[in-house]
Symmetry: C2
Subunit: 208 residues, 2 copies
Amino acid sequence: MRIITISREFGSGGRELGKRLAEALEIPYYDKEILYAIAKEGNFNEDYVEEVLQRGLTPNFMPTFGHTFSLGPNPVMENELEIMSLQQKIIENIAQKGDCVIVGRTSGIILEKFRPMKIFVYADMGARLARCRLRGDDVKNLSDKELQKKIQKIDEGRARHQRLFSDKKWGQKENYHLCVNTTGVEIAALVPAVKAYATAWFEQQEAD
Amino acid sequence: MRIITISREFGSGGRELGKRLAEALEIPYYDKEILYAIAKEGNFNEDYVEEVLQRGLTPNFMPTFGHTFSLGPNPVMENELEIMSLQQKIIENIAQKGDCVIVGRTSGIILEKFRPMKIFVYADMGARLARCRLRGDDVKNLSDKELQKKIQKIDEGRARHQRLFSDKKWGQKENYHLCVNTTGVEIAALVPAVKAYATAWFEQQEAD
């Protein structure tokens, strides 16, 4: 089983890398599909699911977890926890189907028992600002400073989200098998080498 | 000019990776040669040079740098500073000769103006202990705990050494272009992919 999970800083091109890598390896690629499946199965609005997954549980609930429970049912938290639980289930179902590339969604943590190859993609802030502008994200009205704030906020959400599931810190190189800095390089040009790396890596794992 | 610098955790196989990568790229490889050149040019004992480069400047001098100077010449510090200065000069001379792979010696920092490709090689402690034992380092009489302490001490020395030259932290992924986790893999199996990655990376830089 060859499962590759990609975590990435916002604007680093990690999604593009994942998509192209899946194409090069001729295996399925999952990203937003997971979000849509959660929305469908849980009967939630897709935007709401995306928002919850991006920011993690509503911060207020976290420090007083037990306390909140003791006040009786809380529909907001119940929804959020259901989304987390569906995410877990859907990602595991995907992995069981076979080889794939999954971008984001804490999938590296959720799929640990499948021994995935974990890649982290990152870049300098300048490169990330430029990439966001280039791909025409919904950022035209933001100054560089505002866009940088938005990028940092999204990454903080990703780190926070991962803390719900694991002590392994998001973005800490020790928790990945390969960390790729995309500053100043075109993703497409790197893909054949990353494919070769992943292939060699899995061959080694299978030899063990 | 294609200069690749490799920083690495002790026991991660970074030196092996560097050597094999240089062979694969058919370019010169430098490591201990730098140390020998410093010893020769400065008329120092090789072991002494190695020790100074491994631990950085004598810690006592650092916090009171100006103060120590004001007490007049200090032969220990003068030697150490001469070693640092020779290291700088020799590494720059090497880079001026052309394409190469340089392992360690803060070369990624020293050679910044040559726009090197910087690789960091790391591994889990368990894998590093095993690699040290396997390559028969002078560690037979050490328990795992003692060997781990030794490994950590060497890495702390490397981090400290780098702090003398730069604010860029040793081992922090942002300061490298590619970070390679060698846990559970044979270095030789990864080399063709790392070569492909480096080749693609330099082609991108040259296109700019």
